[in-house]
Amino acid sequence: MMASMDVAGLAAELAPVLPKDAVITDRQRLRTYECDGLAHYRVIPALVVLPETADQVAAVVKACAARRIPFVARGSGTGLSGGALPHADGVLIVMSKMRDILEIDRDNQRAVVEPGVINLQLTKAAQPDGYYFAPDPSSQQVCSIGGNLAENSGGAHCLKYGFTAGHVTGVEFVTPLGELVQIGGKAVDFPGYDLLGAIVGSEGTLGIATTVTVRLTRLPETVQTVLAAFADTDSAGQAVSAIIGAGVIPAAIEMMDALAIEAAEAAVQCGYPEGAGAVLIVELDGAQATVDRQFEQVTDFCTEAGAFEMRIAEDDAQRALFWRGRKSAFAAVGRISPDYIVQDGVIPRTVLPEVLRRIGELSEEKGIRVANVFHAGDGNLHPLVLFDGAVDGQRERAEEVSGAIIDLCIEHGGSITGEHGVGSDKARYMPKMFGDNDLDTMQLVRCAFDPGGISNPGKVFPTPRLCGEVPGPKRGAHPLVEAGLAEQF
């Protein structure tokens, strides 16, 4: 085949440019990289390379461009939308060898890192200086800064601190033509178009960051966390509305419903209040004087909304226990269901009760259980659609429910993805949210960066190749989760 011959030539050309053993052609070893965190999609790449410098990345991309061979960049491979799914005739560029923290610049509140640096590792490196990296996706123990940049990662605390896009001030970047360019820096507002605004969240379709300059955030003076138990999600939702309506911006407000609580208890014995139809975790951080007073407001609102039990974290250990149930929820549903689909959609917060009711109706109608876990403060839902693939017809019905939930989000003026990305999984939903002209206009940016369409093709934008593919159920946990290396939102 033409493509594989090209790839063989490419491998030979790249071998002298790259470190020893950094070009993988062996089929068995290639298979290691066949999927990311959305393990339902599997494609074995034609070639895997593991560059160690920006120049090597540029050389690989330039060689791909010359031969019109597609490439896909991969960080830690924890993404949940198949954004790092390899291309069968393309090169997978694995960035995990570029994992040095180049600089912690406390006075400028910046860090300069290579893209393979692990999210939590950066926070740990900055903590002695009283700083941390604010975006905290639940995979933060293993996910990379490069992956965070590509996906514009969020996390529970982005309600107050915003997504990755607000925390990247500069990149060294390889364009799909193989040019190595500097964009931004430690300072803000460099003259010209906000190219960083396009790059962050572009899911690897505009090129590859080889160095990332990020903002470091000052650790708050104090953190207060309450776990509140309610009879049902409606009353928990009322508490959320009251808190937000009063002008309080907590660091996080997370909600879990009865089924999600059951799963978390089974998995990690987090000891949430018994008989709860919903729990809220509300976390406030900031200056002591502010947090103390706002915390009183928050607990009052919870009481008024009918909370029957409230636990206030006495220390970091107890706070960690509260979060453990929440952060383990995705993997935990594996304990109560053989298979499940992790959905990620967004609705305006004010329509939460109505949408939850509709999800309940859908669930009943199709005989498919749905566990609800979500970032209640910003309306980002993570319904977990449970099924047993061994039972005839269940998979199909689960997929229908999962798809109908996304339709509900669109219908209510929301989004098809709040943080997991479009990737391979949701490109087909893009036309439901955007018209042809909208998608065309986005693609103008793509054309400016990647006229040959070789940078992570087939992702984000619907293409014939992906049309009509089935939604992605998950069977069991991601290998990293099973190995105890990661938790997932």
Partner: protein
């Protein structure tokens, strides 16, 4: 070009459904006189006007209130000023979601008044008010940026009309949304060169229950930097930190927002941090959030927070070399300040500042200046990633009809 001059006027009039008038001197854009002013009142009319401009090769400069129209380089040519003040509606305000959608021509003052009724605000405080569209196109905010971030972080959705007259939207009306490219960010600060904004969706913030300020005099560039960094490294979460600097000394002030008691406690703690001579006040210093007034040239200078001292040293040295008095004011923890000075000194001053830019890690852009200064000195200076920016412009506006020549590198 297949459209004749008389045709153009007739067809423009038709596209704007009658809302066209010949331009006057007052309509000049950075000294360049347009032929017509077109004032559409719907997005459809904007589409029709731009489709015609695209076909006939008419250069179009979008305009809101005109408060920042002189910024940027003079356009290479200008046939039509597209006055957007007719698109002035508040489209939607969902207080419970802290989201509002406004048309581009709505005045910021009006929008803030709408939102204040629900105890909310768009967290921007630019020195010049203007319109929603101008806010986004120029990416200009003020002291509150320390708390709320840049304008681009507040934009959650846009409706634009492309240079070819096609209407397109991006983002949406929820804050958390990673579906597709975030074109809102690319358009923010694009100075009308990529597309014409007609509607913008914003995330909002609650109005603070109480605000107080604390100020301290700073007598040297080192002192200014030391105090600024003490504020930056504190855990007091000020919502603004501004320096006013002239002739080798100045005042650094911070703002605290929040619940009444919390603000008072934090101000008390801040006075300790700021050091001797610090005082608190219930109202801002009179210069807070305004532009400096050292002359008719206004520059925007960015810097790394920890290089504030180096920047101020460079400014003072360049000013004295040019025989002028420079006045600096701005957000020194964020790292964006304005410098103003007389036009006669500007060319040498800008050259010297740009030459030393690696000492403070930022860039020097000329905003306001008389035409002779803008002719003599590149308004935008050196640009990182210019080649990519040119390619973006070529994709969005292949025939170069949107504000040609106004932006970086002659874009």
């Amino acid at each position: 070009m297949s459209v004749t001059a008389t045709d153009v006027q007739a067809r423009l009039t038709e596209a704007a459904q009658g809302a066209l008038r010949p331009a006057t001197d007052a309509d000049a854009v950075a000294g360049v006189a347009p032929r017509f002013v077109v004032s559409p009142s719907t997005t459809e009319q904007v589409c029709a006007v731009l489709a015609l401009a695209h076909e006939a090769g008419l250069a179009v400069v979008p305009r809101g209130s005109g408060s920042k129209l002189a910024w940027g380089a003079p356009p290479e040519r200008c046939d039509v000023v597209l006055d957007l003040t007719g698109l002035d509606r508040l489209v939607e305000h969902t207080a419970g979601d802290l989201v509002a959608i406004a048309q581009a021509g709505r005045r910021l003052d009006d929008l803030q008044r709408d939102l204040a009724e629900a105890g909310q605000r768009l967290a921007v405080d630019p020195p010049r008010g203007g319109t929603v569209g101008g806010l986004v196109a120029s990416a200009t905010t003020g002291p509150v940026r320390l708390f709320a971030g840049p304008v681009r972080d507040l934009v959650i959705g846009t409706t634009v009309v492309r240079a070819d007259g096609v209407r397109a939207k991006s983002g949406g009306k929820v804050v958390k949304n990673v579906a597709g490219y975030d074109l809102g960010k690319v358009l923010t600060g694009s100075f009308g060169t990529l597309a014409v904004l007609t509607e913008v969706a914003f995330r909002l913030h609650p109005l603070a229950e109480s605000s107080r300020w604390a100020s301290v005099p700073v007598g040297s560039t080192t002192a200014a930097q030391d105090v600024a960094l003490r504020v930056a490294h504190s855990q007091l979460t000020p919502s603004g930190c501004e320096l006013d600097w002239r002739g080798g000394s100045g005042v650094l002030a911070i703002r605290m927002d929040g619940l009444v008691h919390g603000v008072e406690d934090r101000i008390a703690a801040a006075l300790d941090r700021l050091g001797p001579g610090a005082e608190s006040s219930a109202s801002p210093p009179d210069w807070w959030g305004t532009e400096p007034d050292g002359g008719d040239v206004l520059l925007k200078v960015t810097h790394e927070a920890a290089s504030l001292g180096a920047l101020l040293d460079t400014v003072d040295r360049a000013a004295s070399a040019a025989g002028a008095d420079a006045h600096t004011r701005g957000s020194v923890v964020v790292g964006t300040v304005y410098v103003s000075l007389p036009a006669t000194a500007a060319p040498a001053f800008v050259e010297q500042l740009r030459g030393a830019a690696n000492r403070f890690g930022g860039a020097v852009v000329i905003l306001d200046a008389p035409p002779e200064v803008k002719e003599a000195v590149d308004v935008w200076g050196p640009v990182r990633g210019l080649e990519l920016m040119r390619r973006v412009k070529e994709q969005f506006d292949p025939t170069g009809v949107l504000s040609p020549g106004r932006f970086v590198g002659g874009i």
